[in-house]
């Protein structure tokens, strides 16, 4: 029997991976609760407010994008539009070739949008050397792995595995000391920051009123990547707009609190454009690439609210399926409950609708979501669409049930046959009997008892 891929993957995971993912997610979930409770008198009101603001953005996205384009241009930021991943990759390649015809090192700040369009391999094949500078993403890159979490990319790795990767790559002697490993990465990546002519980043919030790009982070690699190189290229999904800077405090608190349980991330970088003539440093050129890649389609459909998402990862951390299966089980850049909706919404239910099965519908994701996305009801809808599209094998064979339940004589005939069913080989049972015995029938037939009860 065909299993949902997430389930198969979870079964194949080594225990230490499951342990890493689970303990880290549990810690983050608790830190999130504590921080948000301290930051807001009424955290639920704050979440509702944030949802309302994001809905306003989605309602007015066209006007806000045009306003953002105008203000960014006035600030000296070059604005580009990319309708899909291919278009974005080619556009960014062109900008890179213009900045550095001979190729070379690109300082990459962590960005899910660049993961979404699979930018790194594309640039590597064309003579550039994009270096991931976030510690977690750096480990992912040297391991030729992919991030398993949108905020903490190596949540699936433990210290020993990271130590082995460093030793294998010749980044010093073997050590499991987290501080020492981090300092070695610092020294190595510092050289890349000095050398890179190009820095590529994502964007957390773009402010339509002022044309300012807001990037949040804790390490400082994002600031380096967007400050030291001559050219900064920022890639953002078109939904990442906020109307004004007065909206920022709420979102900054919610994002930091929900993602890592901090009051505020260490750095909130507010980029107003390239280095001005009198300024001492900063990139001479800043490009902003606005990426659609399916978003305008999602905006017109039933999963519109998923575009409120600010990529905090709280729904991943709290999800019992994510905790057990880890992000790679979803087989997509966006994992967890968010990914189970966003991935099929962006790329099609036929292709990725099966992800909607990777959920227990417990509702925890909606409870923690800082912008109150109704993920469980979206997952239900997706399941229905996925079955209709034939994207999901129906393991319970509800079709048979529907047939019986709507045709009484067939139902009765079926019941008469049922006592024999436990003795027959049947593909329906194999998932169950792989690990246990099917119990034999106990006691009397209910209908007969009902009939005879007086």
């Amino acid at each position: 029997m065909k299993r949902p891929p997430a389930e198969a993957y979870a079964r194949s995971l080594p225990q230490e991976t499951t342990d890493s993912v689970r303990s880290a997610s549990v810690l983050k979930t608790q830190a999130r609760v504590d921080t948000l409770a301290a930051a807001f008198d009424a955290p639920d009101d704050a979440r509702l407010q944030a949802a309302t603001i994001k809905d306003y953005v989605l309602d007015h996205l066209k006007d806000l994008l045009l306003q953002l384009e105008e203000r960014c241009t006035a600030n000296g930021i070059h604005v580009h539009w990319a309708k899909n991943a291919e278009s974005a990759r080619n556009l960014i390649l062109g900008l890179c070739q213009e900045a550095s015809p001979e190729g070379g090192v690109i300082a990459k700040a962590k960005s899910m949008a660049t993961e979404e369009i699979h930018l790194n391999p594309f640039l590597e094949e064309r003579g550039f050397q994009p270096v991931e500078t976030d510690l977690g993403e750096f480990v992912v890159q040297i391991d030729h792995d992919t991030p398993s979490h949108i905020v903490t990319p190596i949540i699936h790795k433990n210290r020993r595995q990271i130590a082995e990767s460093f030793a294998r790559e010749g980044i010093g002697e073997y050590t499991e000391d987290a501080n020492e490993l981090a300092m070695r990465a610092r020294a190595r990546l510092r050289e890349d920051f000095r050398q890179a002519k190009i820095g590529i980043s994502g964007v957390n919030f773009a402010i339509a009123e002022t044309g300012r790009l807001v990037l949040v982070e804790n390490e400082g690699n994002n600031r380096f990547s967007t400050t030291a190189p001559d050219v900064h290229i920022a890639l953002m999904g078109i939904e990442k707009i906020l109307p004004g800077e007065s909206d920022l405090p709420l979102f900054l608190r919610l994002l930091a609190g929900s993602a890592t349980g901090q009051k505020l991330t260490t750095y909130v970088h507010l980029i107003s454009g390239p280095r001005r003539e009198d300024e001492l440093d900063g990139p001479g050129t800043v490009h902003l690439v606005l990426l659609d890649n399916g978003r305008s389609k999602v905006l017109n459909g039933p999963y519109r609210e998923i575009l409120r998402c600010i990529r905090c990862g709280a729904c991943l951390n709290v999800c019992p399926v994510y905790r057990q299966a880890s992000g790679h089980a979803y087989g997509h850049v966006y994992s967890g409950p968010l990914g189970a909706v966003l991935a099929p919404a962006l790329e099609g239910v036929e292709k990725l609708g099966h992800l909607a099965k990777a959920s227990t519908l417990c509702g925890a994701c909606e409870e923690v979501c800082p912008v109150r996305i109704p993920i469980p009801s979206m997952l239900l809808r997706l399941r229905d669409e996925a079955v209709r599209a034939g994207a999901v094998h129906d393991p319970a064979q509800w079709g048979m049930y529907v047939q019986g339940a709507t045709h009484p004589w067939q139902w009765k005939a079926g019941l008469t046959m049922l006592p024999m069913a436990s003795k027959l080989p049947h593909p329906m049972k194999s998932g169950w009997t792989e690990f246990r015995e099917l119990p034999s029938r106990q006691g009397r037939d209910f209908r007969r008892w009902w009939h005879d009860r007086s």
């Binding site: 930051a39 500078t133 981090a182 505020l264 260490t266 507010l270 300024e279």
Partner: protein, 178 residues
């Protein structure tokens, strides 16, 4: 059709909803500098005083031009911010709520001064304390700015907190009465 036209055409004309008001601002009832100091210390930062000059004696120091009047001329030695051990900046504001510093760049201030050196010394005027993020956001410089809240940090390896991964592992704040 250009990508720009394709995207703009695909976007629906949404309902014309009214722009929601910004969320309510948190109230800070305690002394603002006390709150700032508490938040900063909880993030691994340190409040220092004029005696900090002694700690700079044997170090390579980058000092932004507008921070120099606060310090004796002997402390600012290096002209290469990448090689400096200490970066000294004058902050626009301090935010009590979060223990943050508001730094903007200018002709006198390098963006890298608060980032590249392992130690960041920020000077803040006593009058430049703000209560909340909201108060800071409406006062932001129109130039590229950064809110700095504690030390550079990562918890990517098993959730273990490591300070100073790329940016400064030490943040010193000197509140000046000048």
């Amino acid at each position: 059709m250009t990508d720009r036209e394709a995207i703009l055409t695909a976007l629906p004309v949404g309902e014309s909803t009214v722009r929601p008001l910004a969320a309510a601002e948190p109230q800070i009832s305690e002394d603002l500098w006390e709150r700032f100091a508490r938040e900063l210390r909880s993030l691994g930062g340190e409040i220092v005083d004029a005696s900090v000059v002694e700690r700079l004696a044997d170090k390579r120091v980058w000092c932004d031009a507008d921070a120099r009047p606060f310090l004796p001329g002997t402390v600012y030695g290096t002209s290469d911010v990448w090689e400096a051990e200490v970066g000294i900046t004058l902050a626009d504001y301090a935010i009590a709520e979060t223990g943050s510093l508001v730094l903007s760049c200018s002709g006198e201030r390098a963006r890298l001064a608060s980032l590249a050196p392992p130690i960041h010394l920020a000077i803040v005027r006593r009058s430049a304390i703000l209560g909340t993020l909201e108060e800071a956001v409406i006062r932001l410089s129109s130039r590229t700015s950064v809110l700095v809240t504690g030390t550079s940090r990562t918890a990517d390896i098993e959730g273990i907190l490591v300070r100073g991964i790329h940016g400064p592992g030490e943040v010193w704040v000197w509140v000046s009465d000048e």
